[in-house]
């Protein structure tokens, strides 16, 4: 395009060669930079100071922000400028810049910056120069293909107006000539037929081998693209056969040409060429790799033909980046003549700035230098990622152990929360429960082992330091351990319904305590929701043996870790069943310790049945009535009959009404909570003593009464097992270490 206009300009005479409209259709435009003047130059133009003779380098810029160097324009008219061309002084000035305008469009021919102001050659001359160098390269017999490509790229991008650059190019081409002709090892390819077709047998073998290698690359690419194309398949087969037969320069040249064609065809394959099955496979593969990050982006660039919008956006972005990087690498290669570092660039920039180079050029160099550095940084990051991915597990493990901010691991509540999603299939639900159970079982054993060895506190601290989620995770452990207990328990030790009711109540209290903590942690740790650990209460009726001990240990661990100044939980608190655990925890309620323990379960055996509800969650909201919310949530989930809600709540309220919290189960800073504390405003650090709640005869009596009043069928069931409601409650209470 530029050449076309230059040619026109170089024409001759003073005949108008084209109108502004015609020129406008052939120009590239660019916006005016901030530092470029506009009005003044335009005024000069209006005043007629636009003859090249008087101002050999006049810049004409219009008010819309386009500028250019005016070489020859006459006569000048704002309304309809026509270009008149006079003989152009070759070698006197640089590139032809033509400014034109009419009422509709304005613009400027923009020559690539490097050859603009400081140059001494016309574009045609530059083109010719490049052509000569290219021809020199083409004439080199047996030149290695990669070297050929490299030098041709350099010729294409070099500032060929520069004598030094040209000298360097000539020298390099000479070197290539001598090295190629000596042909000392390595595959060489004839790039064009030479006068004589005589090849030695070594040369033939060498060419065949190199061509086979190249064909294999193409074939791999073809296979990797997962496409069907009979034309390409045919060409590959043909090329293979040709390689077998080739023994002359002409034949090898043809092979090279065919391979170039094959490569072009492979690159031009689009999604439309794929069958739907191929497209699907490719899409799946890209998605899969995309999920893994890292190398996927590279593949997207290569394969990005049949993508979703999101993937396409990534591809385009990456392609843009790659394009820039390649351009910068080219520039950088050229700049190697002057040095490798940013400082070298700077020296060059300064030299040019104070020499013949324009400000624009110096800025461009600076920009290139910065961009090259940035690109190099990106490359290092990518390489680092690849290196990391290739490391062995132990090596990665060290990385993890040393990370100051490791990723927050997944724990049971988050995983169990998936169960509340109605879209989960039965198989998914089952698997979630199994994995949580299996993982947390071993987690519990680890915690127990650490406690047994007297390492519980240390281990807890180490765990904290390894968890981005911090203390909120400890809460998760409680719930997870509880789930493990419930799920491995297999049977309820007491009536399921009441166990649920009591569990809900006790869990509610634990939730209240936990809520305050979680909210506090949540602000820092991004934890705003969690599964209400109402199941904790259920342990009372369910847990047996060591498994229960793990849960308690986990709870103790949680409260210990959740309260920064809390003492280390009693070691061995979770060591198994019965009174040992009961004795391990102070009945007076130590600060920071959730005073609860377990005794062997009551002799009732009710199957809990479907445990699916364990993942259901109640999200506690700040400022609401926690009690109401818990019971409502449980009712909504069908876990608590509305009547049960009333019975439990009524028993509880009546008990509080009569005696306040003092004799119940909540304390703060080693002191019972006063009656002025409301459920929805429990302070952080509140400790729940469930044994006290269930040891409170008034509460138990009320609950027993309400079972009879509200659950006649349940009472009947209990009685049919030979127990009274009181026996049942007592069983539950015992399981909490209470003495009724």
């Amino acid at each position: 395009m530029v050449d076309d206009i230059s040619k026109a300009i170089e024409g001759s005479g003073s005949e108008p060669l084209m109108t502004a409209d015609a020129a406008a259709s052939k120009v590239e435009m660019r916006p005016l930079r901030d530092d470029e003047p506009s009005d003044e130059i335009l005024r000069n133009a209006k005043n007629g100071h636009v003859r090249g003779d008087a101002h050999p380098h006049i810049e004409l810029t219009n008010e819309e922000g386009f500028k250019g160097d005016v070489i020859f324009t006459m006569p000048y008219s704002l309304d309809n400028l026509k270009l008149y061309v006079e003989p152009f002084g070759k070698g006197i000035r640089g590139d032809a810049f033509v400014e034109f305008r009419n009422n509709a469009r304005r613009g400027v021919i923009v020559e690539p910056s490097r050859t603009s102001a400081a140059g001494r050659y016309t574009p045609r001359q530059i083109s010719k120069l490049r052509g000569e160098y290219r021809k020199d390269v083409d004439d080199i017999f047996g030149l290695d293909r990669s070297k050929r490509t490299q030098i041709l790229k350099r010729i294409r991008d070099a500032n060929i107006e520069d004598d030094d650059v040209r000298a360097v190019l000539s020298r390099e081409i000479d070197d290539l000539k001598s090295s190629a002709s000596s042909s000392a090892g390595g595959p060489i390819l004839p790039v064009r037929p030479v006068a004589t077709d005589a090849l030695t047998s070594d040369q033939v073998e060498s060419f065949r081998s190199a061509n086979r290698e190249e064909l294999e690359k193409l074939r791999s690419e073809f296979i990797r693209k997962n496409i069907s194309n009979t034309e390409i398949s045919r060409l590959i087969t043909e090329n293979e056969e040709k390689i077998q037969r080739a023994d002359s320069n002409a034949a090898f040249s043809e092979i090279v040409r065919d391979q170039t064609k094959i490569g072009r065809l492979i690159n031009s394959i689009t999604a439309d060429d794929r069958t739907s099955d191929e497209a699907r496979k490719l899409r799946d593969r890209i998605k899969r790799r995309y999920r893994k990050g890292g190398a996927a982006k590279k593949d997207l660039l290569r394969d990005g033909l049949d993508l979703t919008d999101e993937e396409r956006a990534i591809v385009l972005k990456e392609a843009d980046k790659r394009k820039k990087r390649e351009a910068l690498v080219r520039n950088r290669e050229m700049a190697k003549e002057y040095g490798e570092t940013k400082e070298d660039f700077e020296k060059l920039r300064m030299a040019r700035e104070y020499g013949a180079a324009s400000e624009e050029e110096s800025q461009m160099l600076q920009y290139e230098s910065d961009e090259a550095e940035r690109a190099q940084g990106e490359r290092f990051e990518q390489e680092e990622l690849v290196r990391w991915n290739n490391r062995s597990f132990p090596q990665k493990f060290w990385d993890w152990l040393n990370r100051k901010e490791p990723p927050r691991p997944r724990y049971a509540p988050e995983v169990l929360a998936l169960l509340s999603d109605r879209n989960r299939t039965a198989e998914e639900r089952k698997l979630i429960q199994m994995v949580v159970q299996a993982t947390e079982k071993h987690n519990g054993i680890r915690i127990q082992d650490a406690a047994d060895r007297g390492e519980g506190g240390r281990w807890a601290r180490i765990r904290d330091s390894l968890k981005g989620g911090g203390k909120a995770v400890a809460l998760a452990t409680i719930t997870a351990a509880t789930v493990m207990v419930v799920m491995s328990g297999g049977t309820l030790a007491a009536m399921p319904f009441l166990a649920k009711v009591v569990g809900a109540g006790v869990g509610a209290l634990a939730s209240t305590v936990a809520k305050n903590r979680v909210e506090k942690v949540g602000r820092a740790g991004k934890v705003t929701k969690f599964v209400v650990p109402w199941m904790i209460g259920t342990i009372a009726g369910v847990a047996t043996g060591a498994a229960a001990g793990h849960a308690i240990e986990a709870m103790s661990s949680y409260f210990s870790s959740a309260v920064p100044d809390a003492p280390t939980p009693p070691q061995g608190a979770g060591q198994g069943a019965g009174q040992g655990a009961a004795n391990a925890i102070s009945p007076t309620g130590r600060s920071g310790v959730l005073a609860s323990s377990l005794v062997p379960a009551a002799p009732h055996g009710f199957d809990l049945g479907d445990y699916g509800y364990l993942g259901n969650k109640v999200i506690l909201e700040q400022g609401s009535n926690i009690w109401s919310q818990i019971t409502s949530g449980l009712c909504d989930q069908g876990l608590l009959d509305p009547k049960g809600r009333a019975a439990f709540a009524d028993a509880f309220y009546r008990t509080v009404e009569d005696g306040g919290f003092k004799d119940l189960f909540l304390s703060y800073n080693n002191r019972p909570l006063g009656s002025g504390v409301f459920w929805n405003n429990l302070p952080v650090g509140t400790v729940g003593h469930y044994d006290r709640l269930l040891s409170n005869p008034k509460f138990v009596d009320m609950l027993v009464d309400r079972i009879g009043d509200n659950y006649p069928s349940l009472l009947q069931k209990i009685n049919s097992g030979g127990f009274s409601a009181f026996d049942f409650i007592r069983g539950v209470a015992y399981s909490h270490g209470a003495k009724v």
Binding site: R291, K292, G293, G294, W388, N389, S392, F393, P394, Q395, K396, F397, W398, D399, W400, L401, N402, R403, K404, P406, P407, R408, P409, R410, Y411, A412, E414, V415, L418, R424, T425, E427, E428, K430, L431, I432, M434, V435, V436, Q437, A438, T439, K441, H442, N443, R446, D449, A450, R453, E455, R458, W459, R461, I462, R463, S465, L466, G468
Partner: protein
């Protein structure tokens, strides 16, 4: 899927991920379920290895271990452990495998008992 899930999967390698999906019967569940489950198991493995390292150290060195974990002083931490655990890399690998096998056994048993 979160970055954390990705990180843990990447850490335990593609091989682990594929192996776990196949052996634990996860191939039939959706990716949004797979990812947190894998991450959870992965984390269990990491913790198991850490705890076993702690256990393998003599009592007088455990405080030092606690201080070094997460401090970024990787070389020091490794040196400390290498003084007491011969073939440290093998040890780490073995413990990771043990934990995975234990979790797998639990899941398989749970499936069989259905």
């Amino acid at each position: 899927m979160t970055n954390d899930d990705n990180f843990i999967s990447a850490m335990l390698s593609e091989e682990y991920t594929q192996k776990a999906i196949a052996e634990l019967g996860m191939h039939e569940v959706s990716p949004e379920v797979q990812a947190p489950l894998l991450a959870m198991i992965g984390n269990g493995i990491l913790e198991r290895v850490t705890l076993e390292l702690l256990t393998a150290l003599p009592l007088e060195e455990r405080d030092r271990f606690e201080q070094l974990v997460g401090s970024g002083k990787g070389t020091e931490l490794q040196e400390l452990l290498e003084r007491h655990i011969p073939d440290l890399e093998k040890f780490v690998q073995q413990q990771a495998e043990r934990e995975y096998e234990a979790i797998k056994t639990s899941i398989v048993m749970a499936r069989e008992s259905e």
